[in-house]
């Protein structure tokens, strides 16, 4: 256990924390904006997978990573708008629509993958070189700090940048106020002569974009390969992180990093052969989410109209 405090391990631990947190951050910040508009999008898991696939396919064909990221984001927008069509225009049940979106996305992803790469096996699984990590003059060479903060993926910086940007948007702009109001009291927005549907479509498109980009991080900045179900449940965790973060951007950043840290500690403890049951550590974030939900129930800042379709009477 003494080894645990060696500097290389600690540095690796924190660098890993930030990497693990990145896809969650993308998806959670996007989902935050969506939920603030009063729509619960449970389809994040599916959008992550489509984003991972589209990003991979475009980059595999063109060789351009950024094109892949934008393609992934675009596919997320398409799915987000599809979700909007179901829940805003048709006013279908949001939970059911979200689950349907997941099933649809999972089916499409596997089918599409098999159409493009028919009859491949593990021995010739298509893979690509992932993004180069960022290098900053001087900063990247600072011992420890440089490795942790200044040698990450460019997408990671984008994810972290999205937190102040979204925070500014929600709390300091007129559209942000209208969006939050749509989630709290859509009738007021409607009475003002503003369109509830437009705000919700916009929020879903943004949430889809972020989840799509988050999905592309998995294939383009982490693993370099696509396999069906590569998102491995990350979309559900992202939704939990929004709740755990009490619908506040900064808090979501903190809980995403906290989740990444627990995951990284879990992996490091296993790597050190520590005598701690790793199953317990794996379960810890979920346990904490449940505890947070129970204790913070009274102080929850959940949008009042979350999950309810708005109908004019």
């Amino acid at each position: 256990m003494n080894n645990f405090f060696q500097t290389t391990i600690i540095v690796g631990l924190f660098a890993s924390t930030i990497r693990i947190a990145t896809p969650f951050l993308f998806a959670s910040i996007g989902e935050l904006v969506t939920e603030r508009s009063g729509v619960l999008n449970l389809g994040i898991e599916g959008i992550l997978q489509i984003g991972a696939l589209v990003g991979f396919l475009i980059t595999f064909r063109t060789g351009s990573h950024w094109l892949g990221v934008f393609g992934a984001g675009f596919s997320g927008i398409v799915l987000g708008i599809f979700m909007g069509w179901m829940v805003t225009t048709l006013k279908l049940n949001q939970t059911v629509s979200g689950l349907a979106l997941n099933l649809l996305a999972g089916g499409i992803a596997f089918y599409w993958f098999r159409v493009v790469f028919a009859d491949v096996g593990a021995e010739n699984l298509p893979n690509l070189r992932i993004f180069q990590t960022a290098r900053f003059p001087i900063l990247s060479d600072i011992p420890y700090i440089g490795t942790i903060f200044f040698r990450q993926q460019w997408l990671t910086y984008l994810a972290f940048l999205s937190v102040p940007v979204v925070s500014y948007f929600l709390y300091r702009t007129r559209v942000g106020l209208q969006l939050r109001c749509t989630g709290e009291n859509p009738r007021a927005v409607d009475m003002k002569g503003l369109s509830v549907a437009k705000h919700q479509y916009g929020a879903l498109a943004f949430g889809g974009f972020m989840a799509g980009v988050g999905g592309s991080f998995l294939t383009l900045a982490s693993s370099g390969m696509f396999i069906p179900e590569i998102q491995a449940g990350r979309g559900w965790i992202a939704i939990a992180l929004v709740i755990f973060g009490n619908w506040i951007p900064w808090r979501i950043l903190v809980v995403a990093l906290f989740f990444g840290l627990i995951e990284a500690v879990q992996l490091t403890l296993q790597a050190l052969n520590a005598n701690v049951p790793h199953q317990l550590l794996l379960a810890l974030p979920y346990l904490l989410t449940i505890i947070a939900l129970c204790t913070a129930a009274g102080r929850s800042r959940s949008p009042l109209h979350l999950g309810l379709p708005y109908k004019r009477e």
Binding site: G12, I20, A122, I130, A232, Q279
Partner: protein, 363 residues
């Protein structure tokens, strides 16, 4: 207004349902070589007058074929097709990514079509096989993997273990390591997983008593992102060779400039600069065995009588092997290669027995 809207919604639900159903069979329908249904009547009587000229496999995979477990099977199947037993023409149709609750339905469709002589399933589908096998007594059923019970009669239970080649791989790793720290990134503490991981450690320990090894279970069969982070965490603790039981560690190894071993099939092509060698599972013997069983039943009238234990072909019987070294033939010192070859011969001659330890890894 209300009725119109109801109709629109109904129509959309219908449309959506149609899209879904239109998609579903594409995924689930066999994708490889549509079976040509010939108008030859099925051989019903145990003793046939004319000898069958072909044997038709229906295969149901629990995961996509990219899973090394499935790919290894496909490779073995292709070798059997190249060199068919009894002069038979071997054909196959498969369905991948079948969730266990769907297994009985998919297997029943295969069985009822009458187009298949042998149905190959995963051990997780054992319950479905148990229900269906008595209803289709002419089909030879086989389900493979750990974690189920033997059924008997026409339901054969097979498995594969690669601990012997993993032991040889461990000997190479134990000789090549500079930090004396090895790592393994594995799925779950599961018999098929633990067998090779423990043997890898035993092999390394046999040539290098100072070896330290850590095993990380990522608790997922398919999560290369976590696999990579797990490997990165091991590398930070000084690990310089990783046994990659799952996908993910190769990318971490490439980034850190360390070495890795593949698992279950020759994974050299996935990362030629880091994969030293891979213990390989060879399903060939099991495939040939079930063809023989089916032949004996169909031609000679020998009743199906599956053993009440798993059918496992050992290293000696050709159930597994260590892959070629490819580019690493020049990197691995000749004396290490000689030593591995000598050990291989000792295992083959029965002089040395590699214990199969399927409990979770413990240093």
């Amino acid at each position: 207004m209300v009725t119109k809207k109801t109709w629109v919604i109904l129509l959309l639900v219908l449309l959506f349902g149609m899209i879904l159903t239109a998609c579903a069979p594409q995924v689930e329908e066999p994708v490889v070589e549509e079976p040509v249904v010939e108008e030859v009547p099925e051989v019903e009587e145990p003793v046939a007058e004319e000898l069958p000229t072909e044997v038709r496999f229906g295969v149901i995979f629990i995961s996509p074929v990219e899973e090394p477990w499935n790919t290894a099977w496909m490779q073995a199947y292709n070798r059997v097709v190249e060199d068919p037993p009894l002069g038979l023409e071997v054909s196959m149709t498969y369905t991948e990514n079948v969730a266990p609750p769907d297994a009985e339905r998919v297997l029943r469709e295969y069985a009822e079509s009458g187009n298949y002589d042998i149905l190959w399933a995963h051990s997780a589908f054992g319950e479905a096989v148990e229900v269906l096998a008595p209803q289709f007594p002419d089909i030879a059923w086989i389900y493979a993997g750990s974690g189920n019970e033997p059924i008997g009669d026409n339901a054969y239970f097979a498995d594969v273990f690669i601990h012997e080649p993993a032991y040889l791989a461990g000997m190479i790793a134990g000789s090549l390591t500079e930090t004396n720290k090895l790592g393994a990134v594995a799925a779950f503490p599961f018999p098929n997983v633990n067998g090779p991981v423990n043997a890898f450690y035993d092999g390394a320990k046999s040539v290098n008593p100072d070896i330290d090894m850590s095993v990380t279970y990522i608790e997922s069969w398919f999560d290369p992102v976590s696999g990579r982070e797990a490997a990165t965490a091991q590398i930070a603790t000084g690990v310089d060779i990783i046994y990659a039981e799952r996908f993910g560690p190769f990318e971490a190894a490439q980034e850190a400039g360390i070495l890795a071993f593949g698992h279950f099939l020759d994974q050299h092509s996935m990362a030629p600069d880091v994969v030293v060698a891979s213990p390989m599972a060879l399903w060939d013997a099991n495939i040939r065995n079930i063809i023989q069983v089916w032949w004996d039943y169909t031609v000679n009238g020998v009743p199906y009588d599956a053993p009440m234990e798993r059918i496992i072909f050992s290293f000696v019987e050709g159930g597994s092997q260590l892959s070629p070294y490819h580019g690493f033939a020049d990197v691995i010192p000749q004396e290490v290669q000689d030593m591995v070859e000598e050990t291989r011969q000792q295992i083959l001659s029965g002089e040395l027995e590699i214990p199969l330890r399927t409990e979770a890894f413990e240093q």
